[in-house]
């Protein structure tokens, strides 16, 4: 039977490697890459040293220490989703302004083409 530490190490290393692979291949934009590299480090360290969670849990007075990792993970996911929606809203503004700008430039182009056509 293999040890718990080996299983968690494998999971941590695989997830961290996958994230680093995606970041290195340029699939992720700068600020997101930083977030996910941090996440990869956490996966890697917690995978190698799963008992750290137990020690923190005891120190913080959590009666069932593994719940600390679950709660912290959940909080981080909520923060990430919130940041995603903020970014999505920023992009929505940018898209709407660009659509308007394209329409105004198309109109200007149409006007210029119309004014030049009699002399062509």
């Amino acid at each position: 039977m293999i040890s718990y530490q080996l299983t968690s190490s494998l999971i941590g290393i695989i997830v961290a490697a996958a994230i680093i692979f995606l970041v290195r291949r340029g699939h992720m934009h700068g600020p997101y890459a930083v977030w996910w590299l941090c996440a990869a480090c956490v996966f890697f360290l917690l995978g190698l040293f799963p008992r750290v969670v137990d020690q923190f849990g005891v120190a913080l007075g959590v009666s069932y220490p593994p719940m600390l990792a679950v709660i912290l993970g959940f909080v981080m996911i909520v923060i990430k989703v919130l940041l995603l929606d903020l970014e999505r809203s920023r992009q929505e503004i940018a898209i709407r302004r660009l659509v308007q700008r394209v329409a105004l430039l198309q109109d200007r182009l149409h006007e210029l083409e119309s004014s030049q056509s009699p002399t062509d």
Binding site: R96, R97, L104, D107
Partner: protein, 242 residues
């Protein structure tokens, strides 16, 4: 100050989405009422709205993707501001608004009594919608009777506020727009007008109970978020590209 209500320095902005049956008649009625420049902002219609509007003599700006009525109006306001129009009037493409009231909308702005005028016809709506308006007035402290009227006139100062990026996330020309204007120090006056029943179809905002519920939740949140927003220097001075 404008020379007359029929001044060419006045632009009429009409957002249109699939309004081929009414758009030409609306443009004709505007031309008969005043000599304002008519700008139709086509919101990616799938019918003959663009051709009909051009045939009726309007300038047509075509959005490549649907932005909704407010997004189309904001495009028209950006055009009007960039092309030095002193006043922009917004009205619907469905024949609901009577262009004969345009001079009445212009008058308070010409006389420097307001930066924005709203053509108000609160009697046209149902009791349920009147209740919704009252709710929004209570949340925001706005003293405006007809919150959702799209028949409005804006001077350049109001237009500058309306083209800001912060206004680009709004979906309707109602509470969010009014709060931005109020927080920007604009004076708003309501002018009583008569409104026709829509010639084609019904309100898109109040078309189903689910949409009404979403609209109420969305607008109530917007009202709560912006009700007491202080006027900041940044808010007033931030320049926006046209």
């Amino acid at each position: 100050m404008l020379d007359s209500p029929a001044s060419p320095r006045c632009a009429v902005v009409i957002p249109a989405f699939n309004e081929e049956t009414t758009i030409a008649a609306v443009i004709d009625r505007v031309h008969q009422s005043c000599n304002a420049y008519v700008i139709v902002v086509d919101d990616a219609s799938q019918d003959q709205t663009i051709a009909e509007a051009r045939r009726a003599g309007a300038r047509v700006i075509c959005l490549p993707q649907r932005l909704g009525a407010w997004g189309a109006i904001q495009t028209g306001l950006r055009y009007a501001l960039k092309n030095d129009y002193a006043i922009a009037i917004t009205m619907d493409a469905d024949g609901q608004h009577d262009p004969g009231f345009i001079p009445a909308l212009l008058q308070p702005i010409e006389q420097n009594q307001a930066e924005v005028t709203i053509g108000a016809a609160p009697a046209r709506v149902s009791n349920a919608r009147r209740l919704a308006w009252r709710w929004f007035r209570m949340l925001t402290g706005l003293k405006i009777e007809d919150i959702t009227s799209g028949f409005r006139a804006y001077n350049r100062s109001a237009m500058r506020i309306m083209i800001k990026s912060a206004a680009s996330l709004l979906d309707y020309q109602d509470v969010g727009v009014l709060l931005m204007l109020r927080n920007g120090g604009q004076r708003i006056i309501e002018v009583p007008v008569a409104m026709q029943a829509r010639a084609n179809g019904k309100s898109r905002v109040f078309s189903s109970w689910l949409i009404v519920a979403k609209y109420m939740a969305h607008t109530s949140l917007l009202a709560l978020a912006r009700m007491n927003r202080p006027q900041s220097k940044h808010y007033l001075s931030k320049s926006e590209r046209l």
